[in-house]
């Protein structure tokens, strides 16, 4: 620590720290644009100018940029100095020369860093009297809107997109005051992290296009801390709601997990919450009927209670449902009749992974840990497409070598410009061994594409080179042995090596091989880091509850060992062979589905209960790191959708067997008691009883508008179309019951005017129990605009209100980043003790998994891949957009999803007489598919790739052997 003097006040800061960062950490207001805590300093915008003095006798001083100044003992600066102040206002005036004067119609308005900085510098009057420069905007795809006239040329976009995220198709073009940030031509931005530009851009050049489509101001959004549900990484998110629809997702900072950035699937995949396919009320199939009919929750619960009283009820849980939902189901059916809802393969692999991470001496790293790795082996996992945010972290790990070079030249590591000048493209070793090319190959020291068994053999070979005690690979060819030697050399030379693998290529051998490498690395000192990517947002949580995969459940149904199946937030058809599911469901007497979207499984159910999505419920997810993290209800939801655990508990109560689960904390407590491995989940976030100065924490910002109109039943946003639901009238002039003591509910009902009971949900449109609505000229509905109480939330310490404790909340409960003078996302600076460091009070979540000590090598080494004469090994090809179940429900993501295809080695295709684009027939045990052929040199001969999880390919067990023929014409 050193002492520095700012405006004659002494402060202790870390030696060599970035002065701008230090000032911000001290809570001082110093404006900036081009600097970003994750991107470092380049000194372009000149906005953070301060006056530096040689000593206390120096009265002249000189202007320096805080972002390029290291904090050294005795450093003496002034922020308030009139000259520095005038210059900072002058920089804003320069930036305003060409910036439009139309904040009121700009999407960024109200959360614009440029607005904040303008106010901060005191610049109020523009003297520039000449014509403004204008640009043409580009079409950049479905995610981002481009408005170049708003550009202030801070270079952050290209520094994030190119330097940080490895994108190639966005660049700075032209020069002087015509620098243009865009693509060479209009087109979809290719990089998987493009959406971060909306947050990185300090003004309205790059804005969230999906948000624009149903725009609202930041201060009108109701927000709550959440966790992304679109992969197993567990990125922290901040979803925002207005008028009953989820409007957008922004990054929620977590120092150990996602830092400042999300992937585009996580940011844009939330559209399923607003989907027309949402189930909004219970549906019941009356006996012998082909169709289901809506029923009241009471009827539905009575039905479920009756089914549960039956002889054998099994529960099929879900890796995409919360720990609490899965636990409530397990509680209802009993542990021996609970299945974790994963495919047979995923269930086995996830169990294997948990076994490795809890019993072997290997440690699951956070993303932040991964970024510190100085040598990385990726074995078998296409992380960019299965756990995208990890790929962004691995890109940062590759830069360790550059930082070392710069450090050796005494360049401060926050000085991004100088680091890149000094280290150029120096990279730490990254080895990517996968069954097909990945989007990390461009920064890899070496890539190797081979069949899963060969990948496993490579891993086992690396482990053996690292530690001769690890089993040797029999019959290893010279090429693989040499590669294994090079990988082992790099990993053993590293200070912090990392191995990354996962369930992606469906091979337990690959995971075991990765574990051997990590164990071989860890022997001398600390446990080595091993990241094993789980397929879904709560794969670990579901697996920790125990239970087998759905294959066992299907078998039980088919054999008649169970009569009733309750399927929780799960479309079975995505996880097993269609025929097997059909047989099982036909054999089942009763099928109950609790989910938020209609799907093939729900279509066969006797009873369907509408489940709240992540945005309408609270619960816990366990990430691939083994971190239990709580997500919170963002809004109360529409229709009768409620938390799955609540449905299950209410059904049990209806049957007279309730567990006493009145709130989420009760479920958590029971779960923690029943499952020692899940004991930590109670500490993932403060309980519902938590209060600050006796108050809850408001989900609505203090500037939230339109509340009276909304809660009074009048929707001020007439343009918002509320989803048309059976028996639901559009949200609008809805007659409502007033349950307040002064209300006249009974009176209203007595008049025969259909009144809606809003006691449970408050501000949301409710299904109208009576389809007949007489509204003659003389029968104008009674409109009650009395402001109702906001919906109650017994599960969390957050309130559906703008009232409550407005000060600093614990990190797990921060609903919005806002601070005086800081309205943009960069208000985050005010929530960290040290800007760029952990959130004040510690980052949220609890690690449930820590290394074990069982030093047992895996020795089941597969034989080398042998191609077959008339069959191909069909391997899964993952797509960030398309392979995951929920995100393609978002229209913007759907636009980016590929159509099914068959990827083949050109030589193999040629042998079959197939050219690119030709139709091929792929025959698998699950059935036949006709697919266009794509030629891919990265796919080894004897293998072929099939996109995973798409409509038409989901449910196919991959890898597996299949026959390929030219299209056979009928």
């Amino acid at each position: 620590m050193v002492t520095i003097h700012i405006d004659n006040q002494s402060y202790q800061v870390e030696a060599g720290a970035n002065l701008l960062q230090a000032c911000l950490s001290l809570g001082l207001d110093l404006p900036y644009f081009c600097w970003h805590p994750a991107l470092g300093a380049v000194g372009a915008c000149r906005q953070c100018a301060v006056k530096q003095f040689k000593d206390e006798n120096d009265s002249r001083g000189r202007i320096v940029m805080a972002c390029l100044t290291p904090a050294q003992e005795g450093l003496r600066i002034s922020i308030a100095d009139p000259e520095a102040h005038a210059f900072r206002a002058g920089v804003i005036e320069f930036l305003m020369e060409n910036h439009p004067h139309d904040c009121p119609v700009c999407d960024e308005g109200g959360e614009c860093h440029l607005q904040d900085m303008t106010v901060m510098t005191g610049h109020v009057h523009r003297r520039y009297r000449f014509a403004k420069r204008t640009f043409r905007n580009q079409y950049l795809g479905p995610f981002l809107n481009h408005e170049m006239n708003r550009c202030i040329t801070c270079y952050r976009c290209v520094r994030f997109y190119r330097d940080y995220a490895g994108g190639r198709d966005l660049n700075a073009m032209a020069s002087h005051n015509h620098v243009y940030f865009g693509r060479i031509e209009d087109g979809v931005l290719e990089n998987e992290f493009s959406g971060n530009l909306a947050e990185v851009c300090p003004t309205g050049v790059f804005t969230d296009k999906t948000f624009k489509a149903h725009y609202t101001r930041k201060w009108d959004l109701q927000t709550a801390p959440s966790i992304c549900v679109h992969c197993g990484v567990g990125c922290n998110t901040l979803p925002g709601e207005r008028y009953g629809t989820l409007r957008r997702i922004q990054n929620r900072y977590h120092h150990e997990v996602n830092g400042y950035f999300l992937c585009d699937r996580g940011r844009y995949g939330h559209g399923f919450v607003n989907s027309e396919k949402r189930l909004r009320q219970p549906l019941l199939r009356t006996e012998g009927s082909e169709t289901v009919a809506p029923v009241s929750p009471t009827e539905a619960l009575a039905h479920l209670a009756a089914l549960c009283a039956g002889p054998t009820v099994i529960g099929i849980g879900s890796p995409r449902a919360s720990v609490e939902a899965n636990f409530a189901l397990q509680k209802l059916v009993g542990p021996e009749r609970f299945f974790n809802g994963m495919s047979a393969s995923d269930a086995g692999l996830t169990r294997l992974i948990l076994d490795i991470l809890t019993r072997r001496p290997v440690r699951s790293p956070s993303l932040h840990d991964m970024e510190q790795a100085d040598a990385v082996l990726v074995l078998g996992e296409d992380v960019t497409n299965t756990a995208p945010r990890i790929a962004l972290s691995l890109r940062q790990a590759v830069r360790r070598a550059a930082l070392e070079i710069a450090g050796a030249r005494h360049v401060p590591l926050w000085h991004d410009g100088a680091v890149r000048d000094a280290a150029q493209s120096a990279k730490s070793p990254l080895f990517v061994a996968t069954h097909s090319a990945t989007r990390l190959d461009d920064v890899a020291a070496e890539t190797w594409h081979a069949a899963p068994d060969d990948l496993a053999r490579l891993g086992f070979a690396v482990a053996h080179v690292l530690n001769p005690d690890a089993p040797e690979v029999p019959g290893l060819d010279a090429e693989t042995a040499a590669l294994a030697g090079r990988i082992a050399l790099s990993l053993s030379a590293a200070g912090r090596p990392l191995v990354v693998s996962g369930t992606g290529c469906g091979s337990p051998a690959v995971i075991r091989a990765a574990a051997n490498v990590a164990m071989a690395l860890g022997r001398t000192g600390q446990p080595a880091e091993l990241c094993l990517v789980a397929p879904e947002c709560n794969s670990f949580g579901a697996a920790l509850l125990g239970g087998e995969g759905i294959d066992a459940a299907l078998l039980a149904l088919e054999r008649g060992e169970a009569e009733t199946a309750i399927v929780l937030e799960n479309d079975l058809y995505r996880r097993a062979d269609r025929a097997a599911i059909d047989r099982a469901l036909q054999a089942a007497k009763h099928l109950v589905v609790i989910d938020h979207l209609g799907h093939a499984t729900a279509a066969q159910a006797e009873l369907v209960l509408p489940a709240a999505t992540f945005a309408e419920s609270s619960g816990t997810l366990v990430s691939s790191e083994g971190r239990a993290q709580r997500f919170f209800k963002v809004f109360a939801g529409n229709g009768e959708a409620r938390e799955s655990w609540r449905w299950l508990e209410e059904a049990q109560r209806a049957a007279g067997r309730g567990n006493g689960f009145d709130g989420l904390d009760d479920v958590i407590a029971a779960c923690a008691a029943a499952h020692p491995k899940l004991q930590g989940i109670a500490h993932a976030a403060p309980s519902a009883k938590f209060r600050l100065l006796g108050e809850k924490i408001p989900r609505q910002p203090h500037r939230y508008s339109g509340r009276t109109a909304m809660l009074g039943g009048i929707n001020p946003d007439w343009s918002v179309a509320i989803l048309p639901l059976p028996h639901t009238t559009p949200h609008g002039l809805q007659p409502v019951a007033d349950r307040s003591p002064l209300g006249r509910a009974g009176e209203g009902r007595g008049e025969g005017v259909p009144l809606i009971d809003t006691s449970a949900k408050g501000n949301v449109p409710h299904p109208n129990p009576s389809p007949a609505r007489g509204r003659g000229a003389n029968e104008r509905p009674q409109i009650n605009i009395h402001e109702q109480k906001p919906p109650n939330d017994p599960d969390t310490p957050l309130a559906f209100s703008m009232e409550g404790y407005g000060g600093a909340a614990p990190a797990a409960l921060i609903p919005v980043y806002w601070a005086p003078s800081w309205n943009s996302v960069q208000a985050l600076n005010r929530f960290q003790d040290e800007v760029g460091g952990p959130l004040r009070g510690g980052d949220p979540g609890v690690r449930l998994i820590e290394p074990g000590a069982d030093w047992i090598w895996f020795s089941e080494i597969p034989a080398a891949f042998q191609r077959r004469a008339d069959e191909w090994l069909i391997v899964p090809l993952y797509h960030i957009f398309g392979s995951e179940e929920l995100s393609p429900q978002a229209p913007a993501v759907a636009e980016r999803c590929p159509r099914p295809y068959l990827a083949m080695n050109p030589a193999d295709a040629d042998a079959l007489g197939l050219k690119a684009g030709d139709q091929a027939d792929l025959r698998l045990p699950e059935g036949a598919l006709r697919l266009p052929v794509e030629l891919r040199g990265d796919i080894a001969p004897g293998m072929a790739g099939l996109p995973a999880g798409l409509e038409g390919t989901a449910g196919i067990g991959l890898p597996g052997w299949g026959k390929i023929d030219r299209e056979t014409r009928p």
Binding site: A44, C45, L68, Y128, R409, D421
Partner: protein, 425 residues
């Protein structure tokens, strides 16, 4: 008077080929340096000669070279770059040197490269210098043919590869760090100076960047020694200098003269004085990015320190003369148009400030000036000054403006007051 730099120039515009250059004693310095001197001795000779960088900043060349890490443990490859991106308005001395005697530059570069033990050298040439490019291509080929370039030059064990790189054409590339970025294929934006290029320059490796004229001096220093070289000069800075002059003068041109020749001698003797009917108003002593000097400063010696004492810089040593029949506001507008156009767009004050200044100057010249405009210009000039901007481009652009506002205040005020340009009638 000795004129080592231009002694081989031919009258007909042709240049001495290898044979002619060798006949005139060419490549003897190379032979002497590589076969009879250590690299350190070459550097010492250059240090002793008081040769200062001819690109405009006047940094002592020997000192720059001394900071190059050489020896067994030093990083490789090491680079040497000739900055031939001569885009300073009013400046054309490097072009003359290249076109007049390309082998002199090449020999100078090889000797210099030997001194700093560079492995690869580049000539970064202004795109418009097509004739210079032709000369260099031929000369480089000849030098390779004669074994002066390539591996194991003259059996000395030292080797050097030399490449000619034609710039895509930006004034910014004349700034040595932006030049390195451009050479690497990156945007021609300047680098932060926290790293010295001799530690971490081109591709992060030790790099020496010198001006063409600087390199051309080196063979003569090696051949004749530092004492001889210093004796060529009339000032503390060693050697001769290519001075030039343009404007309404009788004989615009460039001349090799002893360092420290006075402005008056340049203007009156060599340039022949003002054209008939024109009187001297002021002049920029060393290209567009230097401050105006007036009649009263004409007896100042043109060397780095002396010109600085009267508030300007010698810069490139090429005078731009303003006469009494040319509108100074129009001249400044033209200059600032150039700088605004050539700003790389990296830092805010330069990118946004220069076009604003240009707009204001245009408005004043066209009779649309407003009362506060001069204060505005003065304020902008401050915010575009040293320390405020990322590199020296904008501060350089402000040198003629701030001095112009001081010396031509009345002209500005007349423009604004009369709402017209008095020179346009």
């Amino acid at each position: 008077m000795e004129k080592p730099l231009t002694k081989n120039f031919l009258p007909n515009g042709a240049f001495p080929d290898l044979a002619a250059y060798e006949l005139a004693g060419g490549y003897q310095a190379l032979r002497q340096a590589l076969t009879r001197m250590t690299p350190a001795e070459v550097t010492q000779a250059v240090t002793d000669s008081n040769l200062r960088g001819r690109g405009g900043a006047g940094f002592p060349t020997g000192r720059k070279w001394s900071s190059m890490p050489i020896g067994a443990g030093a990083p490789r490859p090491r680079y040497l770059v000739a900055n031939a991106d001569e885009m300073e308005p009013g400046t054309f001395k490097d072009r003359l040197l290249i076109e007049g005697d390309p082998h002199q530059l090449i020999e100078g570069m090889i000797v210099s490269a030997y001194a700093v033990q560079a492995d690869v050298a580049y000539i970064f040439l202004r795109a418009e210098y097509t004739r210079a490019a032709q000369c260099l291509r031929q000369a480089i080929a000849e030098a390779y043919g004669a074994g002066y370039l390539g591996g194991n030059i003259l059996h000395s064990g030292y080797g050097l590869e030399l490449y000619l790189h034609i710039s895509a054409g930006r004034y910014m590339c004349g700034e040595s760090s932006a030049l390195m970025n451009a050479l690497e294929g990156r945007r021609a934006t300047p680098r932060d100076k926290v790293l010295r290029s001799t530690d971490s320059g081109l591709w992060g490796k030790p790099t020496v960047v010198n001006n063409v004229e600087t390199f051309c001096n080196v063979p003569h220093i090696v051949t004749h020694g530092a004492a001889w070289y210093k004796a060529l000069s009339r000032s503390a800075d060693g050697g001769t200098k290519i001075y030039g002059a343009s404007g309404k003068i009788k004989r615009p041109g460039a001349w090799e003269l002893p360092m420290g020749t006075t402005i008056r001698e340049l203007l009156e003797e060599h340039a022949g004085g003002m054209m008939d009917g024109f009187a001297l108003r002021a002049l920029l002593p060393g290209g567009a990015s230097t401050e105006f000097v007036l009649d009263e400063h004409l007896d100042v010696a043109m060397d780095f320190d002396s010109v600085q004492k009267v508030g300007s810089r010698m810069g490139t040593g090429t005078l731009v003369v303003l006469d009494d029949r040319t509108c100074p506001v129009g001249m400044l507008r033209n200059l600032e148009h150039f700088f605004a156009q050539e700003s790389c767009g990296w830092c805010t004050p330069c990118r946004e400030g220069l076009p604003w200044i240009e707009h204001v100057l245009a408005a004043i010249e066209e009779g649309r000036g407003e009362a506060g405009d001069l204060d505005m210009l003065a304020r902008q000039a401050k915010f575009l000054g040293p320390g405020y901007t990322f590199c020296a481009l904008a501060p350089g652009a402000m040198e003629p403006l701030t001095s112009g506002l001081k010396y031509f205040r009345e002209d500005f005020e007349r423009h604004i007051g009369e709402r017209r340009c008095p020179w346009r009638g």
